[in-house]
């Protein structure tokens, strides 16, 4: 019988701690698949965040460095400068990237640091138990916005990708995707591949924002979660390429190769 | 022997350069030297000063609470520093900008018309080194050649600047008997 699917080579054989239906596990799998396909496992370095994905290094069978909450951008900056030929990416949630680490993110992007950020946006603080995130939608109920997020008290859901896209030439590529069905998962994989390729080609900062279900804290089942992303979340955070300065053929060819 | 001098004036008068040149000259003569400039917000108000200590042995504190000598380039500096100089010490003042005498009788004061002399050689900015030349002549703390040699280190490669400043040093030096 022909084997049509196997566990990605660089995904360690340990059970993941993520909740059922969580988007993190899908993205983790996509990354390990890509690392294998692009044959970069011996030069890839991941910088996991504080949050649900803090234990990523238990799953990835390539080098990882823990970061303090929000500081991935600063650590990745220095690592990439010291090791310019490695493929370095931060993996950050909305609290990490868009609240406590906003400054690190913006300035690394603005300097055009040649690393990639994978930004998991699930509109909530997952690990700490479902508090309001900077990306929580209006009227969305969380444990710290129990009657729903409102403008005057909480401000608006922050659109980091759009904000970062306004930065000058340092920012090469930003795309927002999701992981709620097979086509969207495929798109996410392609976007991450492109982002990696962009740093390998020394073009600039790249970021892929993934709208990711958190059924546990949304108090929905996985299916309802996907529907909520599709119907509500994408209204505030529309999918698609937000910025792309790559007219670079090499990138396009490499990405379209499969 | 340990001698401390404060150089003071307003920003742009080259007060720090004056002290620095003196410090470098002393180092060239193998003396133990500390040079401490005023810094940060202190220098934003337009005043500048620095303290140079020279000694044969280790210098405990680079700060001078009662220095032997004070060189002041403008009136506000005269007012803020004249009380610090120790009894029997010497106050050097730039009489081009300071038209009063120090209010103390227990110190010697030497007026040098450094501003006008600098105008005389065609560059008002050299008043600082004219002052320093006179200071060196009077105090005899370092050899004038060490100071001139020091300029070579400080302005490495900038021939014109070195020439202009050594000229100023010499003029100041010769202005006192």
């Amino acid at each position: 019988m022909k084997k049509v699917y196997s566990r990605p080579k660089y995904l360690k054989k340990v059970p993941m701690h993520y909740c059922p239906g969580c988007g993190h596990s899908i993205v983790a799998k996509l990354i390990t698949e890509l690392v294998e396909e692009m044959d970069i496992a011996d030069r890839t370095i991941c910088i996991p965040p504080a949050g649900c994905a803090v234990l990523l290094y238990n799953y990835f069978d390539f080098d990882c460095v823990e970061s303090a909450h929000g500081r991935g951008g600063a650590i990745a900056t220095a690592m990439k400068r010291v090791l310019p030929d490695r493929v370095i990416f931060t993996y950050q949630g909305d609290g990490d990237l868009a609240a406590i680490g906003t400054a690190e993110t913006i300035h690394a992007a603005n300097r055009g640091e040649r690393f990639t950020t994978i930004f998991i946006n699930n509109a909530v603080y997952g690990m700490t138990g479902g508090q309001m995130a900077p990306t929580t939608l209006f009227n969305q109920k969380t444990t710290t916005s129990q009657f729903g997020r409102e403008m005057r008290r909480d401000g608006a859901p922050i659109k980091m990708s759009e904000m970062l896209a306004t930065l000058d030439e340092g920012v090469a590529y930003i795309e927002r995707t999701t992981v709620i069905d097979v086509p969207s998962i495929k798109k996410t994989k392609k976007a991450i591949k492109k982002a990696f390729q962009i740093q390998m080609d020394d073009i600039g900062f790249s970021l892929v924002e993934v709208l990711s279900p958190c059924p546990t804290n949304w108090k929905m089942n996985p299916l309802q979660s996907c529907k909520w992303i599709d119907e509500d979340m994408t209204k505030v955070f529309p999918l698609g390429v937000i910025k792309d300065i790559t007219e670079n053929k090499k990138v396009k060819e490499a990405v379209n190769a499969d | 022997m340990q001698i401390k001098t404060i150089f003071a004036g307003f920003g742009g008068q080259g007060v720090l350069m004056m002290g620095y040149t003196f410090a470098v000259a002393a180092m060239r003569e193998d003396k133990i030297v500390t040079y401490l400039p005023s810094y940060g917000a202190e220098v934003r108000g337009g005043t500048a000063n620095c303290t140079v200590a020279i000694s044969d042995e280790e210098i405990a504190s680079p700060i001078a609470s009662s220095p032997e000598f004070i060189v002041v380039m403008n009136k506000p500096s005269l007012h803020s520093f004249q009380n610090k100089v120790q009894t029997g010490g010497i106050l050097f003042l730039n009489s081009t900008l300071i038209d009063e005498d120090p209010s103390r009788g227990d110190i010697e004061s030497i007026a040098i018309d450094a501003g006008d002399m600098a105008e005389g050689i065609g560059d008002a900015r050299t008043a600082n080194l004219i002052m320093l030349g006179a200071f060196i002549k009077k105090t005899n703390l370092v050899n004038i050649d060490a100071a001139i040699g020091g300029l070579g280190d400080i302005f490495e490669g900038k021939k014109k600047v070195i020439e202009m400043n050594s000229n100023a040093l010499t003029i100041g030096y010769d202005s006192l008997k």
């Binding site: 803090v54 303090a68 500081r71 900056t77 220095a78 010291v82 490695r86 | 040079y35 504190s61 700060i63």
Partner: protein, 349 residues
Amino acid sequence: MRGNTVVGEAAIRAGCTCYFGYPITPQNELPEYMSRRLTEIEDGIFIQSESEISAINMVLGASVAGARVMTSSSSPGISLKQEGISFLCGDELPAVIVNMVRGGPGLGNISPAQSDYFQSTRGGGHGDYRTVVLAPASCQEMADLTMEAFDISDYYRNPVLILADGMLGQMMEPVTFENYKPRELPKKDYIIDGAKGRPSRFVRSLILNTKDMEEHNWKLMRKYKMITKNEIKCDEFMMDDAKIAVVAYGTAARIAKGAVKRARKEGLKVGLIRPITLWPYPSEVIKKWARSVSLFVVFEMSAGQMIEDVELSLKGSSEVYFYGRPGGVIPTPMELVKIISSQYYQKGF
């Protein structure tokens, strides 16, 4: 050379290739100098970061990638760096951190002060950890200790703090860089540079299993014990027949030395103990002198912080007197001479 630039040049000569920092007075000459020098040397990396927090995390990144790295700041900025310093200790990563202390608390002022002693020696961030703290008292020592700091830091895989102040940073004294004798250092087998030809690895301080976390803490403590055994430095001046010992470090020790000399001229039997490592603290030296010294005068440019270490060293066996000036005031040697002689005669020595 100015103290601040001395530190910079010493770092470069010790093989430091990365500097990250954020401007703050009174240490700006250091990042300015590094920005020039690190552009000149191959592989040199200089970034003016967006914040102190970012700077210390860049330090972590460069360190984990295997580079010799330094950051510097002054008191409020060092407070911001504490989280990162705690991570460096938890991760067991080397780094050299310079604090040109200014008067505090809060924004305080930019005058020389010694009010960050507790923060530096107790481990200013969260968790059970220590940083090695070196306190130079001259430009020459700034050079020697900065160079040695990199070796200590690499040897024990622990951050080293250089504690000075605006006066030492601004001051100029002749300096030689020839005193440095590089130590033999273990290979950096922990760095993260891509799993090429070896199994993948990770660096982290998160240890959820409490038993393992406890063991990690004990491991750190064993390391700190080793540092305490090997790295203590202390200077003693005119102590042999001293009845009063002044204990002071850094700028205060310079002033104290002047005072001791003057007091000696007046015939008073006074000496100076100058801790050079503030952590580990030279407790044994203090204890040793307790046999012949009748009074320890602790002299600090703070409201009294190091005095706790002196008292801990003596454990009540000798009398301790404190004289300090907080807030960025620089005391004069004469001030201290007066204190010494009044104590001297009061005690009837």
